[in-house]
Amino acid sequence: MKNCFILFVSLFKQLFLRSKESVFWLAIFPVVFFLILTSIFGNMDENVHFRVKILGQSSTLKEVLSNVEQMDIEFISDYSQETIDALKKNIEEDKLDVLVILPENFDRIYSSALLLRKTLLSRQVPVELYYAPIKQSSAIACDVVEGIFNSMGVVENVEYEVHDLSREQYDYNNFIYPGVVGMAIMSTFLFGFMNDLIYFRRKGTLKKLSMTPTKIITVYVTVAIVNVIIMIVSLIVLSLVASLLKVDVLSYLPSTIVHTLLSCVVLTMLTLAIMTFSNNPTGLVIFQQIFFQLQMFVGGFYFPLKTVSPFITKLASFLPLTYTVDGMRAAEGLNSLDFNHFMVPLIYLAISTSIVLLRSKKLGVSD
């Protein structure tokens, strides 16, 4: 036990306390990255494709709206209260940007309003707009819809009744926080843990340690523990900075702990499993880069998965850290995936552990 402690202290000094590189990449970089992302994208929604549903029928509006490429527009005829409630809920859940409720026979009422607009019989057309102004895409979509009515030159003929469906404070800072946590976890394991093992293996340090009575798996586990501690330090610093930027870190805390610990175990075993297949640093670096880039850009770290194409969503659903980040977001109702956030990571864990157990000899330094 004493030897494990001395090994741990030695590795902690080597890999963290005295390594400027690791302090930068694992502790400072996530914070800097978070600040860069929030300063660029904070309070600006990345969704430029607006989802609008219009209750009622209007051939005039259909013709006008068909020219607006950025809008996914659907006309619905069902005026039942259930449908209206469901559509309002969709706005609250960020599945819809704007709901427009037209009066029945909109075209006829609108034509009459146009004809009678300069007379005493002039009546405005009552149109209801539902949106969530706290969410930028919804606010912009609402402006666009109003602009369309304006472009019809009938602004004085339409009476807007605007309803604010913003359920809670939502901003990009809150959204991006789990994404940066996910990136910090990935950096720790792909560029920390795996790189350390590649370096020690290539440099012969593992060979030297394997000549002592200490089991080589003890060295691997100690390196993993050191990296987890570095990651925890990094996440504490990140969370402090995030809380200064009004991120609700405390409500994220339970899901952050659960999902981070699970992903640490998954990535430790995945790293070891990959290392049983290759002693070649180049091959391992290629794996690192592919996995990192794929997970970072496709895994919904920096944008909601529900706003991307079904192919990307499908691809993301095969990646373990997608569920870590989305699972954390579920605490704030910002998740994109509605199904189990543990299943896929646990499948990764089971497969990786099996590979490590079956190929454990390959983790050694002997042939």
Binding site: I6, L11, D367
Partner: protein
Amino acid sequence: MNKNGQNGNVTVLQVNNLKKYYPSIKAVDDISFDVSAGEIVSILGPNGAGKTTTIEIIEGLRTKDGGEISYFGKFREVNDEVKNRVGVCFQENSFFEDLTVSETIKLYKSLYAKSLDTKELIEVFELGEKVKTRIRHLSGGQKQRLAVALAFVNDPDLVFLDEPTVGLDPHARRNLWEIILKFKSRGKGIVLTTHYMDEAQQLSDRVYIMDHGNIITRGSPQELINSSGLESVIEFPEEYSALFGDAIVAGEYAYLHTRDAVSAIRELLENNVTNFVVRHPTLEDVFLKLTGKKID
């Protein structure tokens, strides 16, 4: 009797009929040798001769395809008991570069069941001034001394030293030789792999020369020189090698091993060759004669 006059009769390593075959090559082809306590045994050979493979099989880093190895009197695999009694210095330094000298020694001491006193180790290897220095700031010679010190940290009975003095200046090499001889005198069995023939000649009680996976000759350095039949060696520029049918060319020089030095010198002078050296044969000449190659 070994060089220090001690009886090296306790066998610490016995290798019998060791084999390691790869699809296209017999890396180690049925070799046997032994090492006794208080003895330095050198394994020499050109690149690809099978030395490293042999040593790594003994160290437990490679599997063997045949044969048996006895450590400290018992035929067995490399287990924790064996590891506690074996020290290894690899050719490449393999440290945690950001630890200090004393932290590194403390780390490796903690990994073994028994160990030498840190102060003694630091004193013997003359690392006292650098004890609080991080390894990345040590010179090549200091790193090499530390690497050898770590091979002795567990007070081993059997030590493998792979090129322990590579890259050191002549003075530092001689210092390290003295340290190695000091540990030998304490009864350690030492297996030395080196490219320096003078080092092998100075330190070794016995030498094994390997080529193509086989041990092609064995004996003490003097026995090997005596039994080689070499009386004189004439070293001259390689462009005149055609003057003698049996001259061996290695690099810029040709080497003629001969019993009739006078005739050879006359031949060289008749061809206006004056920049030649005549000397007694060394272990290097034996090696050159046996393998046809100068050690790289």
